[in-house]
Each structure stands twice: as structure tokens, then as C-alpha cells.
């Protein structure tokens, strides 16, 4: 997905709130949550009924790559209720998901929920560590560039622009080549055994995952800080004799956060999706790597479950961003166009 286009591409749930919104926060929240649920409902229809656009016997599709003997076909027909009408199949699938029964994995011969739960921690840790890198490195680079005009600014901007064009899988290869093969500082494979070892194993993957967004964060921070620095309230704060650090953190950065927050929903989704590639590259046992392996092993129920999880995470994150934004910028809640 185009990182720089993110600002232009609205979140899936923001529409419909622009015109009619009055100042009632309750209605605002209800609207947002309703939009969220509707989007998720339609997304689940797409994920579930995607299988139905394929011609032929659905039992044979689900058993691709395995011996389709009559007993197995009968078993899978019974398990998925394939002989029932599609709507009934969907309702039982959806009902199962809501009750924590995600179906059975053909490749692992386990419940999908068990397979997923075992792998979720690694992905969450990976994404969290990447988020830390993005926040710390991106903000630091952006603030440094904005406060030091001239050489530093130019240098940071050029390196950040170059880094922004590096896809995660290329970053993974480059980081492995440098820090793992040449310098031998970090491992190139596996997710380690918890604690510090896990952190050590996840450092390169999370950097590879985050590099595009670190660059993006640095650029957004820089430009939005530059804009804020020229504002009157900053001049007033400076002339009142506040320490520069206080001015930057309390008066500049706080207002500069709004555009960063706007994109953070899309950012989280991007991290989750790209984690598939990074986990597969570094051999991490997370759900991203599981998605790739499940496609490889023709394990469709796991694929459906993971796609649904990522879409849900994306839509929920965007809704949360929409809900938080009025708290930072009351003009949005008041229903006036602020930009």
C-alpha cells in the first residue's frame, strides 16, 4: 500500500460523519461503532463467500493437495456443512467465530483458534517493537531535522527519503546482510526463547518491518513541527522564557501529533500485513508467517481466519483513531472542517 497516499485515502469508516454531525458525543460514538460493525459485516461476507466464486465441488477445493477419498470428502462436507444452503453455512461460520470456534485446520489437525493463539504473541511483540522503533526513531529524526536547519535537516531528509522507498522484504535482506552476516550482531532466524533473547531475535525483523514507517513518521513529524514552530502560541511560549524542551514537547509536538494520529490506524494495518513477509523471512512463528504457510499448505480455514483478524484490527484501529481525534482537536467534534 502506498504509504504517502495514506493521508489521501480515508479510513474505511470516516464517511457519513462529515455533514450531519452535531455536538452530541454519544451520537458520534454510536455512529462510529455502527459504521464499524457494518464494515466488518460486509468484510466477513467477502471473506466467507470468496470461496463460492470458484467453480466445482467445494469439498474438493478445501481438500486440494490431499487425497480426496470418499471418506475424507464426506467428513469435510459434514464439518463445513457444505450440503446446506450458503446462507446457513455463513451463519454457522459467523456464529462459530463469535463463540471462539474458528473451525479446524487441515494442516495442523488442530482447532484454528489453538493454532492462532499459540502464534499471536510473537506477532504482537513484533508489531509492538516495530511501533516503538517507529515512534522513537521517527519522532527523534523528525524533531532533530526540524530543530536543526541546514546540513542536519538535509542529511536526515535524504536518508529518510531513501529509507522510505525500501520495501520490508528488501530491508530484511539488507539488514540480514549487514548485521547478521557481516557483523554477526543479531540472529537471522527464529523467534528466540522469551525475554531478552526474544527481544534480540526480534530486533532486525521489527526494524525491517518498521523502516518505511520510520521514514514516514520522520517526514510527517518534521513538516508538522515546521508548521507549528511558526505559530503564534509557540512564539509566545518562547518569549515567556519557557525552556526549549518544554516548548517543543508541550506546545509544538502536541499539536503536531494530529496528522500522525490520523495515519496510525493505517500504519498498524500495514505493520500487520507486512509482518507476513517479515515473519516468513526471519522464520518467526507468528500469525503472519502462518498466513503464508497456510496459503502454501492449502489450509483455507486458517487463511480465512487470519484475513478476518487483520481486517478487523485495521477497521477497529481506524475507528479508535476517529474516536480519539476529537479529544485532541475539539474542532472535529464540533463538526467544523478544521483543515
Amino acid at each position: 500500500m502506498a504509504v504517502t497516499d495514506i493521508v489521501a485515502a480515508p479510513a474505511p469508516s470516516t464517511r457519513g460523519t462529515k455533514k450531519k454531525l452535531k455536538a452530541s458525543p454519544v451520537i458520534f460514538v454510536i455512529r462510529k461503532v455502527a459504521t464499524l460493525l457494518i464494515t466488518l459485516f460486509f468484510a466477513s461476507l467477502i471473506v466467507f463467500f470468496s470461496r463460492f466464486i470458484l467453480p466445482g465441488d467445494p469439498a474438493r477445493f478445501l481438500l486440494r493437495g490431499r487425497s480426496p477419498n470418499p471418506a475424507a470428502l464426506a467428513a469435510i462436507t459434514k464439518q463445513y456443512g457444505l450440503d446446506k444452503p450458503p446462507v446457513e453455512q455463513y451463519l454457522s461460520w459467523m456464529g462459530g467465530i463469535l463463540h471462539g470456534d474458528w473451525g479446524r485446520s487441515l494442516a495442523y489437525r488442530q482447532d484454528v483458534s489453538e493454532v492462532l493463539l499459540a502464534r499471536l504473541p510473537v506477532t504482537l511483540e513484533l508489531v509492538a517493537l516495530a511501533a516503538v522503533f517507529i515512534t522513537v526513531l521517527g519522532l527523534a529524526a523528525g524533531i532533530l531535522a526540524s530543530l536543526n536547519k541546514g546540513g542536519w535537516d538535509r542529511f536526515i531528509l535524504i536518508s529518510v527519503t531513501a529509507a522510505g522507498a525500501i520495501p520490508p522484504f528488501v530491508a530484511a535482506i539488507a539488514l540480514t546482510a549487514l548485521f547478521s552476516v557481516q557483523l554477526g550482531w543479531f540472529p537471522s532466524f527464529g523467534s528466540g526463547s522469551g525475554g531478552l533473547d526474544r527481544l534480540w531475535h526480534l530486533t532486525l525483523p521489527s526494524l525491517a518491518l518498521g523502516v518505511t514507517y520510520i521514514a514516514f513518521m520522520a517526514r510527517v513529524t518534521r513538516s508538522s513541527m515546521n508548521e507549528q514552530l511558526t505559530r503564534e502560541h509557540v512564539e509566545v511560549a518562547t518569549s515567556r522564557g519557557l525552556k526549549p524542551s518544554a516548548v517543543v514537547f508541550r506546545h509544538v509536538l502536541r499539536n503536531a501529533m494530529a496528522p500522525i494520529l490520523t495515519v496510525s490506524g493505517v500504519l498498524i494495518a500495514g505493520l500487520l500485513v507486512s509482518s507476513a513477509i517479515v515473519e516468513q523471512t526471519f522464520g518467526l512463528a507468528g500469525i503472519g508467517g502462518l498466513l503464508v504457510q497456510s496459503i502454501d499448505r492449502l489450509d483455507f480455514s486458517v487463511v480465512q481466519a487470519i484475513v478476518m483478524i487483520v481486517v478487523t484490527a485495521f477497521v477497529v484501529a481506524n475507528t479508535i483513531v476517529d474516536l480519539i481525534q476529537p479529544l485532541l482537536d475539539p474542532r472535529i467534534a464540533a463538526g467544523t472542517e478544521s483543515r
Binding site: A2, R15, I46, V47, S50, P167, A174, I277, T281, I295
Partner: protein, 286 residues
């Protein structure tokens, strides 16, 4: 203002009458070189990209092999040139198809009020909920590995981006005097929209679509890299990096880093071209 203008103010000034700045021209040269080398690969590549020479494995750059060989002794330069053919065709199809469909749907959404516009907007929102790479993986899970499924999925994912932009442009175009003049004169709506409004939008939308090329290329290469796209031994930049990982871990960096470098180079230069095009065209419109 383009990013290159911020970075390299001296080199990014477009001289009067020139299409691109110096940086822009450099990007054009890089992109054209890569495209030409790929298109002409069957005629100018020094070796068969799949010719295995086990006597000459992982050799460095030499007169015989300008960029060296990979773990199976295949000539890297030839593989890069042939790899460009598969790696560039996919994004090209996605960008062209998503631009055409996006333009048409955006026109429909922008011109009509009422339920067509509302329905299309909802559908765009829904597609936005599926990141392009994720939709591609779902498509591969359904239709099997290769490029066809992800190309269709990526096209669907990028249509709303084009359509949204078109929709906004159409809405502002609708109120312009020339459109209203045509309507007053009684020309058919379809003729005004397709014959007069559409041509005005194509440059702006096309320039934006150019920017999508790099992202699609990176995503498709990533799919080949994780083994879901182009299958070896067909050479593709993403698949080449994947095949070279073993050699990378044992210390031979070139076979993996060269295709990686080409991917970054082409993405950067296409982005620079796209930015300068949209800057130039956007400037003309406003």
C-alpha cells in the same frame, strides 16, 4: 512542492519548457535503462538466464560475468534483465487496469448524486478495509500461486484510490462554466462526461497512478519473495532474492543484494517521475 525540490533545491529546478528537473531526468534515464534492458533481454542478454554452470558458482564480477554468478552458476546480469520482464509487467497491468476502471467508476460516483454515488462510496470504503497485500494473499489462497491472482486482487485494491481522486476532480469540474455551457446547449450528458470532462482528468489521474506503480511492484516482488508469486526457475527480482538467501547467509551478498538494489532503484525513480508529473500537471490545472 515535490520532495526532490526540498532535498536538492539546485538540481530540482525545472528549466522553462523542460518536462522534468535534473533529478527528474536522472530518474527517467534510470527507469528507461531498466525497462529497455528488460524488454531487449532476449536479444542482448549475454547468457541464457537459466543456464546452470556448476563449475562457476558464486563467482564475483568478471569479464565473462559482469555482475558475477549465483549459487547455481547462472549469470546474474542476464537473470536481472529477464527478471525485469516479469517484475515490470505485473505492476504495468495493475496500474493501467486500475486507472481505467477507477476513472470510469470515479466519473460515475462524481457525476451522479443520490444512491449510485452513495453505493459506490460505500463499496470503495469496504475495499479500503482490505490492504492490497492481504487481498492478494486471499486471492492466491483461492486461485493458486502465480501472478494472475495477485494482479487481479491488486487492481481491485487500487481502483478505489483512483476512483476517489477522480470523484473529487469530477465534482469540482461539474460546476465549471464549460460543463454548464454544454448542458445548457443540450448536449447529451454521456457525451459531455466522456468526451469533454474525462480528457481533462486523465493527466492528473494518470500522474497519480504512476506513483502507484512503485508500490505495486514492491508488493508483487514481495509475494514472489515469500514464494507465493512467480515460481522458480522463472527469473523475477523477488524470486531471485528468495533463491539467493542461502548464499546470503553463507556470506555471498551479491546475488541477493543486486536484485534488491534494482527494486529500490526502480521504485525511487518511478516515484520521482510520478511526483514531478503530478506537480507539473497539478500546477497547470490550478
Amino acid at each position: 512542492m515535490t520532495l526532490t525540490a526540498t532535498l536538492l533545491p539546485g538540481l530540482s529546478k525545472r528549466r522553462y519548457g523542460s518536462m522534468f528537473s535534473t533529478v527528474g531526468w536522472a530518474a527517467v534515464v534510470v527507469a528507461l535503462t531498466v525497462v529497455l534492458l528488460s524488454v531487449l533481454a532476449p536479444f542482448i542478454a549475454p547468457y541464457d538466464p537459466n543456464y546452470v554452470d556448476l563449475e562457476n558458482v558464486l563467482s564475483g564480477p568478471s569479464l565473462a560475468h559482469w555482475l558475477g554468478t549465483d549459487a547455481m552458476g547462472r549469470d546474474l546480469l542476464s537473470r536481472l534483465m529477464f527478471g525485469g520482464r516479469t517484475s515490470l509487467v505485473g505492476p504495468l497491468i495493475v496500474v493501467v487496469a486500475s486507472t481505467i476502471f477507477g476513472l470510469l467508476l470515479g466519473l460515475a460516483a462524481g457525476w451522479s448524486d443520490g444512491w449510485i454515488s452513495a453505493l459506490l462510496s460505500r463499496i470503495f470504503d469496504l475495499v479500503f478495509a482490505f490492504p492490497a497485500l492481504l487481498l492478494s494473499m486471499l486471492a492466491i489462497a483461492l486461485f493458486g500461486k502465480g501472478l494472475v491472482a495477485p494482479i487481479i486482487a491488486m487492481t481491485i485494491s487500487y481502483i478505489p484510490y483512483v476512483a476517489r481522486l477522480t470523484q473529487q476532480l469530477v465534482i469540482s469540474e461539474r460546476s465549471r462554466p464549460y460543463v454548464q455551457a454544454y448542458r445548457v446547449l443540450g448536449f447529451r450528458t454521456s457525451w459531455v462526461v466522456l468526451g469533454r470532462v474525462l480528457p481533462n482528468l486523465v493527466p492528473t489521474v494518470g500522474a497519480q497512478s504512476t506513483l502507484n506503480f512503485g508500490y505495486v511492484l514492491a508488493d508483487l516482488a514481495a509475494l514472489s519473495f515469500i514464494g507465493l508469486g512467480i515460481q522458480p526457475p522463472t527469473s523475477d527480482w523477488g524470486a531471485m532474492i528468495e533463491e539467493a538467501r542461502g548464499a546470503l547467509l553463507s556470506g555471498s551478498l551479491m546475488p541477493a543484494l543486486l536484485p534488491a538494489l534494482v527494486v529500490v532503484l526502480i521504485v525511487v525513480s518511478i516515484n520521482v517521475i510520478g511526483e514531478e508529473l503530478s506537480d507539473r500537471i497539478g500546477g497547470n490545472l490550478s
